[in-house]
Symmetry: C2
Subunit: 320 residues, 2 copies
């Protein structure tokens, strides 16, 4: 049974001190490794780990080709400013080849998870020689696994590391007593930049979750360009979340005064407290029209833009 | 060279008298037939023809299964009130079987045209014994054929009637000197009900043009139900045209608290003068939300509704 530390009871100073000691004593003079996604959990673990281990901790950012524009650079820059070196691992080809021909949303998710753990991160762990893995698991992840919402993950199995061999490996989960609000409080105390807390939710499968149908480099590039416009125009709108989705359906459009088929982008912008229910944000019509205009201008092949006007339920926040 | 009669020069009383005499003298004591779609051209021809020929003219309404809710009944009722009997010919199965498996928009159009002329109307003409066909061709149709926008139609060939045999047939096109505004003026003088002039534009392939992907009875029923909601809520909005489109893409939704895939309806509502350019109507957000709510309530399987926010160009009015 894990003892929860509620955010309001969290004394960040003594928590950091305690965890830094714990990590130090467990790793000793060994090597550790962790994967940074840029989310608040993995960012907090990265800072805690570097405080404890310095250069004994290798931090990698896996570039899966599915991230938003400049996402890897932004994360690397954030951490460079904090004195932490992050190694970007180019793995775009591995992810796109795993996603080739896959159209079912669940199978897409699975292909991304498998490629990350079994192929890319598994290889990095073995090659690094590190025997200690730092993970940003929080209490909510544990609850959801127990409740059957998330699958039970045996990390070593996921990494393709033989259970025999796995005896030599150790998992460290320094955030496991915290929930999201506690991690935010901790992150702030560790000096994480504001931008990381203010970021709107972004799904695990990244832009692959924003493409209906097959995920290809071209289709990710299309939805990435549309996402840039949407995030730029809506960054101050106060909504809970906003996103662009690339449809598979083709619709009629005009190119150089001729009828031709083109692609459609769907924009969603949600008002919500906790994502369990949500309503479409009543954006001014001028903003909607400007957004459509900029998207068809900036994104090759797109001739049509829609705005989602349904509530959740029966809709969901994401489409895939 | 056809002499145009501009609307403002059209003396409806003498035009009607002249055309009635002309039709009478050409048909004599023979039999004539015409197909009524409910549009203003075929409606005006039907009234002119019946004034000239009475029961010698057989008027048919081909129920292709692709019309909006109650459309056949409404047209039959309109004309019954005007003393004209319209025979509804049930041909749904022929159209749906021609459309089965067809997903390309041009092929869908072609399947509908071929089924109408070659199969259904061709058979009706032969079975009726009528040697005179009344058609609502207007001058704009002729212009567009000459300009290559519309295909050159040899009506007899379309009807599957052998050119040898066709010597016995006659085509009468009493509206050929008029354009749309002239036909409207004529229709009014002939006593056509206001509803027929106020109707928003509706495409030839009917609801088949409002379905992305395969046209099946179930999918037509889905878009028909959505169309009912959209036309009811927007009938007073003053827009040029409004429509509902059924997408082929599936999106995530919630059914009975569980994640499940559902269908998406896209609503378009256009401000336009002549359909050459158009902008999305800035409907109040409360109307958009109400429309989405009523659609997901009234249309089984639909979990998501969007509103198109793109201008034409690069969008087009219809999607298929």
């Amino acid at each position: 049974m894990i003892r929860e530390i509620p955010a309001k009871e969290l004394d960040t100073e003594s928590f950091i001190k305690e965890k830094v000691e714990e990590i130090k004593s467990r790793v000793g003079d060994g090597q550790a490794i962790n994967a940074l996604s840029g989310g608040v959990d993995s960012s907090a673990v990265t800072l805690l780990g570097h405080r404890a281990l310095g250069d004994q901790l290798k931090t990698v950012f896996v570039e899966n080709g599915l991230m938003r524009a400049n996402e890897a650079e932004q994360v690397v820059d954030f951490f460079r400013d904090l004195g932490v070196k992050v190694e970007v691992v180019a793995a775009q080809e591995e992810f796109f080849s795993a996603l080739k021909g896959v159209t079912d949303p669940e199978e897409k998710r699975e292909a991304i998870t498998q490629t990350f753990y079994r192929q890319v991160f598994g290889r990095l762990v073995r090659e690094s020689g590190a025997k200690h893995l730092l993970q940003g698991t929080i209490l909510t992840d544990v609850d959801e696994t127990v409740a059957g919402i998330k699958r039970q993950h045996n990390v070593f199995e996921q990494l393709g590391i033989d259970p025999q061999e796995a005896f030599g490996y150790h998992i460290l989960e320094p955030l496991i007593q915290l929930r999201k609000d506690g991690v935010r409080k901790l992150g702030k105390a560790l000096g994480l930049p504001q931008e990381l807390f203010q970021r709107i939710p972004f799904p695990g499968p990244a832009l692959a979750a924003r493409v209906i149908g097959e995920v290809t480099p071209e289709r990710i590039d299309t939805v990435r360009k549309a996402t840039e416009v949407v995030e730029r125009l809506l960054s101050d709108c106060g909504a809970f979340q906003y996103l662009a989705i690339l449809h598979e359906d083709r619709v009629t459009g005009m190119r150089e005064s001729r009828r031709d088929f083109g692609q459609q982008i769907e924009v969603r912008c949600w008002n919500s407290i906790d994502a369990r229910t949500a309503t479409p944000t009543p954006l001014p019509f001028a903003i909607l029209e400007q957004m459509a205009e900029e998207i068809v201008y900036a994104v090759p092949g797109v001739v049509s833009v829609t705005y989602n006007i349904t509530s959740k339920p029966p809709s969901t926040i994401e489409a895939v």
